[in-house]
Amino acid sequence: MIFRVFEKKELKNLFEILAAHNKIVGPVEAGRDKHGEPVYAFSEVSDFNALRLGYTATKLPAKRYFLPFQENLSTYTVEDGEWQKSIDYNVSGPLIFFGLHSCDINALNKLDKVLLHSIYPMPYYAAKRKNMFIIGTDCAPQPFCFCRSMSSDTALHGFDMFITDLGTKYFVEILTDTAYNFLKHIRTEEPKEKDHILYMKTVSARNKKFTAQVDTTDLAKILDMEFQSDVWKHWGDICLSCGTCSNVCPTCYCYGVEETVDIDLKGAKKTKMLHSCNLIDFAEVAGGHNFRPERHSRLKYRYYHKHRGFVEAFEESLCVGCGRCGESCLAGINVPEVIASVRGGKSK
């Protein structure tokens, strides 16, 4: 890994040089909540002043850029009982992500494992993922962040460059030659020993600010043991089965496929739509049998997939600890409390 430092004002130059030739997606202020606090969102941005690099967290992940909530897998032309299929991976061109936090970068790394590096790699995801240039940025831990428990508070790969705010300067980790070449357009310097020390101090000060925690020790095993536990019933009783948790999750990738005939009857579409395992029809089969008819069994399945199944397959959890699901849950269900109750063997 190559490290550089640069003056803060240089970042605007970098943005503008990149924005002149590329589409940039970054955190912006989308509005204010009822307390007057800013609500952040990832959006296409062309003005550096609209970019909010010091953002706390976005309500929604950047998922719509690599796993759109709805996309066509294929389209058909139909004529005289004959049909022809055409496939488009729905990618318009490369995108620069300016300012992703470690949790969201790690979410991509986790998705890569199942969508890119396992059998039957998914071209719709691959086409978008391979066209991403990612600039990571450091974050300020929020009360709901438990990424440190999920080992997602730092990203080791999955980005092109990562900038950390050192006060007057930015410290940058460079992972790809593309990033290295981009940085040639602005003034950077070799970091000195005092920059290293400042970087380490900054990171350790940040790490002290984490409050939420999840004990993941032996979690996969414990989830298996507590499969019949009453705590699931407790959480199931308050869960609304609305699927918001999956909607805001940076790693939820489950989907359903539907086909529709065009209104002129000359074509048809096969559409993929992100789904949620908390929705009632998720595990329903032909004839109406539902393998998970109760709310608690669906909620449990979600924890099972995230914290056990994925661990079994890839030796790591499918949760990055961003805390978005807990923040958005209308019933106030959050991962640290659910896991703690399962470990405690009784509901809170």
Binding site: K85, I87, P123, G256, K270, V285, A313
Partner: protein, 302 residues
């Protein structure tokens, strides 16, 4: 059984992994296929024979008994179906389909010559070669006979490789029996056929009751030599699995020789959509055929 480990042949396992599983371009590849025959079996079920149109694709399309494919009518839908025909025929499959939803109802109106889409084959199959030299119990409830018809065809074509072969088949009423026209041929191929219905009609002369009753009759009074050298293939509604597998277990049929085929509603067939997950295992990748040991380790499997 002797506490002896079996040699694992890594080369043959590797050879089974086909290139298409790594290829991005094959993800959404659909074989264009034509319905060549429509054969009504009951009021609700129809047997469709489907042939891949492109001669090269047809030659390359092969499957093992127990695997499924995704059948698509563009604009109407796509769903998984077990392949119900002989694995020795390439590029042509028979699917027995019950009218149960949008796609299958539409399909029941589509006649010979309709062009459909086929993706696959997907999933695991029954390890027929491992069963050589052994007895086989094929246990089906209701529509469960559909995926079993493929291993039955394999047994017929390779009858000398197997010892005693028993089919146990249970349905609600005699009207629900599938593939009745084949029963004579199965018997002539020295396959014992035991049929039981839950509710008889006046013309029914056979047994009445639950499938476990005929299974009990077949398993009782055999020696350990029989139990230890017997494979069982079970397919049917979820409630049947529990009773049948428990009984097989009681008679000490080895768990690794008991195979079940699970039904889930796959949307992709390739381990991506998660709709078929049992616990957190993809039925489309690790199944639909599982040995009973694996099923016991899956939550909510049956």
């Amino acid at each position: 059984m002797r506490p002896e480990l079996k040699f694992v042949d890594v080369i043959s396992e590797q050879q089974r992994t086909q290139r298409r599983k790594q290829d991005l371009a094959s993800f959404e590849h659909t074989h264009r296929a034509v319905i060549t025959s429509v054969f009504p079996l009951t009021d609700m079920e129809t047997l469709y024979r489907i042939q891949i149109i492109d001669p090269n694709e047809r030659k390359r399309f092969s499957f093992i008994p127990g695997q499924f494919l995704m059948l698509e009518l563009p604009g109407i839908g796509e769903a998984p179906f077990s392949i119900s025909s002989s694995p020795s025929i390439h590029g042509e499959v028979e699917l027995c389909i019950r009218k149960a939803g949008n796609l299958t109802n539409f399909l029941s109106k589509a006649g010979r010559g309709t062009i459909v889409g086929v993706r696959g084959p997907f999933g695991t199959g029954f390890p027929m070669e491992d069963m050589h030299g052994q007895n086989i119990l094929l246990i089906a409830g209701g529509l469960g006979l559909v995926p079993l018809r493929s291993p039955i065809a394999y047994v017929q074509e390779n009858r000398s490789h197997f010892k005693e072969v028993n089919i146990m088949y249970g349905t609600k009423t005699p009207e629900h029996l599938l593939f009745t026209y084949q029963y004579d041929v199965w018997s002539k191929d020295d396959i014992n056929l035991n049929i039981i219905v839950e509710k008889a009609d006046p013309s029914w002369k056979g047994s009445v009751g639950m499938i476990t009753e005929i299974l009990q009759d077949i398993l009782s009074g055999r020696d350990n030599e029989f139990y230890h050298n017997t494979y069982a293939i079970v397919c049917g509604p979820p409630v049947m699995f529990k009773f049948v597998c428990n009984m097989l277990n009681r008679f000490h049929i080895p768990m690794q020789k008991m195979f079940v085929s699970l039904e889930r509603r796959m949307h992709c067939g390739m381990g991506k959509c998660c709709r078929c997950n049992v616990g957190s295992t993809y039925t489309c990748l690790k199944g639909p055929v599982f040995d009973y040991w694996t099923v016991m380790n899956l939550k909510e499997a049956i």
